[in-house]
Structure formats: C-alpha cells, structure tokens
C-alpha cells in the first residue's frame, strides 16, 4: 500500500503545486475558484480518456505518440504561463487596485483566468493519466487488490494536500510582495516545463541535438525523491539534464523576463481607466 501511495503521490505533487500556485495567483478575481475547479475536472476527465486510449496513443506517430503528446501539452502550458505573466505585468496593478468592481477588469481578468485554468487542466491531464493507468493496472491485474488501490487514493489525497499547503503558504505573503513572488514562481515554473518538453522531443528523436548530459547529481538529490520532485516543478530541477534542456530552460527564463519588462516599459496606448 505504501508503494502505491508513493508512486501516486510522486505523480500528484507537480499538479498539486501548480493548482496551489494558480489558486494563490487568482485569489480575489471573480469566479477564480470556478475556473480552477473546471480546469481540474477537465484535466481529470482528459486523463481518464488518455489512460483509456494509452495503447492507441503509444502506437501513434510511429511509436512516439506519448512523447509528442507530452511535449505538446507542456509547450502549451508554457505559452499560457508566459502569456499570463506578460499580461499581468501590464494589468496586474490595475487588477489588484480595482479588483472585480470594474466591468472591464473582470472581462480581461477572465482571459488570464482561462489561461491559468488551462495550465491546471494540462498539468492534471499529463500527471493524471499516469495515475489513472497505474490504478487501472492494479484493478485489471487483480493481483494486489484494494490495499494498493487505497494507497493510490491516499496518494491523490496527499497531492490535494500539497495544493492547500502551497495556497495557504503563498497567501501568507503580504499582498504587495505576492505579485512579485508569483510572477517569478510562474517564470521558473514555465522554464522548467519548457525544459521537460524539450526532453520529450529528444526522447521522441525529433530533436537529436545537444543530448550530452550537463551534470549528474542523482547521487545527491535524485528527481524521484519528494524534495527532488518539488524542486523539479518549482524551478525545473533535473538530476541528469541534457544540454538542450539547459539551453531551453535558460532561453525561456530570459525570454519571459525580457517580454515582461518590454511590455511594462512600453507607453500605454489605451487611455487609463481612472480608479
């Protein structure tokens, strides 16, 4: 039972952290919880579908279906996160000043809410399909039974606990610092996801450049430990990254940072709404 708990929990950490961060980022926006909840449900439904068609997926694209699917999902999440950060750098302050009282703030808030809810959905879709497959395998093989299944469910519950812990940890930060903290969190999160996406493209053989291993710290902090997994999500830590992963990580960080600064500095073209 403990084994199953650990397997499922390990998969659930990433999604759990992302849900927690998104809940904290969108706190105070109208309908934020509804959006996040919808993202969770869509992700879980999608994960069940992916698990159901795992066989077909793994045979598609001459055996590289899984990899390309994962790479695509990750890339989409990176784009959504980047878009959110760039958008927030311009409108974040307005939003926090006016909150939901101004119609326009709500309307534009919903666009970024949609982006973040999709990030939640995509995270759950990707990690959840593995959990679903594992639990399905347990049930199908009938070799182990309820004990393992229960362990899996407990692992999921722990993943949800990670969401709550992340959320409550983040909202403890004073509001004037929260925006700064969450934009950096999202930037690092996006860079880490971009590096993971690159790794899947390498695995699929789509990218054959830069496969050299940058470093090996698996003796000190393996990815598979809980701490390794948390760092993997938050800052994109990997114990044996390829050169390509490193390059993609750095370029994503730099690009999002530069794009954010660029949008912040540009003079406004639209008349400012008076508060």
């Amino acid at each position: 039972m403990l084994g199953a708990l650990i397997i499922v929990f390990r998969e659930a950490i990433e999604a759990g952290l992302i849900v927690g961060i998104v809940l904290a980022v969108t706190r105070g926006l109208a309908h934020a919880r509804t959006y996040v909840f919808a993202g969770v449900c869509a992700g879980a439904g999608g994960a069940a579908l992916v698990a159901l068609f795992a066989d077909a997926l793994s045979k598609s694209f001459s055996g590289n279906g899984q990899e390309l699917f994962n790479a695509g999902i990750l890339a989409l999440a990176v784009i959504m996160l980047a878009w959110h950060n760039i958008w927030m750098s311009r409108h974040g302050r307005e939003l926090s000043q006016q909150l939901s009282s101004v119609g326009r703030a709500v309307a534009s808030g919903e666009r970024t809410l949609f982006a973040l809810a999709s990030v939640v959905g995509l995270a759950i879709l990707r990690e959840g399909s593995e959990v679903a497959l594992f639990l399905y395998g347990v049930v199908a093989s009938g070799e182990t039974g309820y004990d393992v299944f229960l362990g899996g469910l407990l692992g999921l519950a722990l993943g949800a606990a990670v969401s709550f812990a992340t959320f409550y940890g983040l909202v403890k930060i004073p509001p004037r610092h929260l925006f700064f903290v969450t934009s950096w969190l999202i930037t690092f999160l996006a860079a880490g996801l971009a590096a993971q996406s690159a790794a899947f493209l390498q695995q699929a053989g789509v990218v054959t450049l830069f496969t050299e291993t940058l470093w090996d710290t698996s003796w000190a902090l393996p990815d598979k430990t809980i701490l390794g997994r948390v760092l993997h999500t938050l800052i994109g830590y990997s114990d044996q990254p390829s050169l390509l992963q490193g390059l993609v990580y750095l370029s994503t960080l730099i690009l999002i940072y530069a794009a954010t600064k660029f949008t912040q500095l540009r003079p406004r073209l639209e008349p400012r709404l008076s508060p």
């Binding site: 084994g3 793994s58 001459s62 055996g63 594992f134 395998g137 070799e143 053989g205 390509l244 994503t252």
Partner: protein, 114 residues
C-alpha cells in the same frame, strides 16, 4: 497591446523551433526486452556503445508498466499485453540503469553499452 503579446508569443515559438532539427533517428541494431511477472528479461542487456539503436519492449503482463531511466532520459508507458519500440541515442560506454516505475521493487535492470 494584444498584438504585441501575440508577436512575443510568435517569437517564442519561432525561437523554440530553431532548436529542433526534424530528423528521426531509428536505425542501427535492434534490441528486445521482455517484461513478464514484472521482471525484465534480460535484466542486463549489452548493447554497442556510440551507436544509435532501437529498443523494443514487450509487456506480457496484464498490467501497464512505465519504463523509466533517468540516465537514458526515457520514460515510456507500455500498455498491458503490448509492445513499444523507440530509438536509443548513441550512448557512451557505461551502465544505464532502468526500472519499471509501477513495480519498482521487482522491475529493475540495466543497459550495458560497450
């Protein structure tokens, strides 16, 4: 404003695209691993170093397995009663451990490149 954001995004995508060279490498020797009762057979597979190869994994069990190797940088789900094949990059001589993540205590093995 929306325009500049989209332009940024397009830039990001094009930049990412620069990293990709569309060449699928699946040539060289073909090796086969079998999973039965959550064990890999052979548990030690010797392959030629510095040569791209293809690895076929057959899962004879009724439950799915996830082939995972940090050093090979591969994680791949093998559905129940089916097989998958994938390209291995040219490996430096050495040992590359792998596990079946869903049954990690039983499903263990390593590739030996020499």
């Amino acid at each position: 404003m929306a325009n500049s954001t989209y332009r940024c995004l397009v830039g990001v995508i094009i930049f990412a695209g620069c990293f990709m060279s569309l060449a699928s490498a699946s040539a060289g020797e073909v090796y086969t691993l079998t999973i039965k009762d959550h064990h890999f057979d052979p548990a030690q597979l010797t392959i030629k170093a510095e040569t791209p190869a293809t690895l076929i994994i057959k899962n004879l069990d009724a439950s799915p397995e996830e082939f995972e190797s940090k050093s090979l940088r591969i994680e791949k789900i093998i559905p129940a009663n089916s097989e998958v094949s994938f390209a291995l990059r040219a490996l430096k001589a050495g040992r590359y451990k792998f596990v079946g993540e869903f049954h990690e205590d039983l499903a263990k093995g390593e590739l030996i490149a020499e």
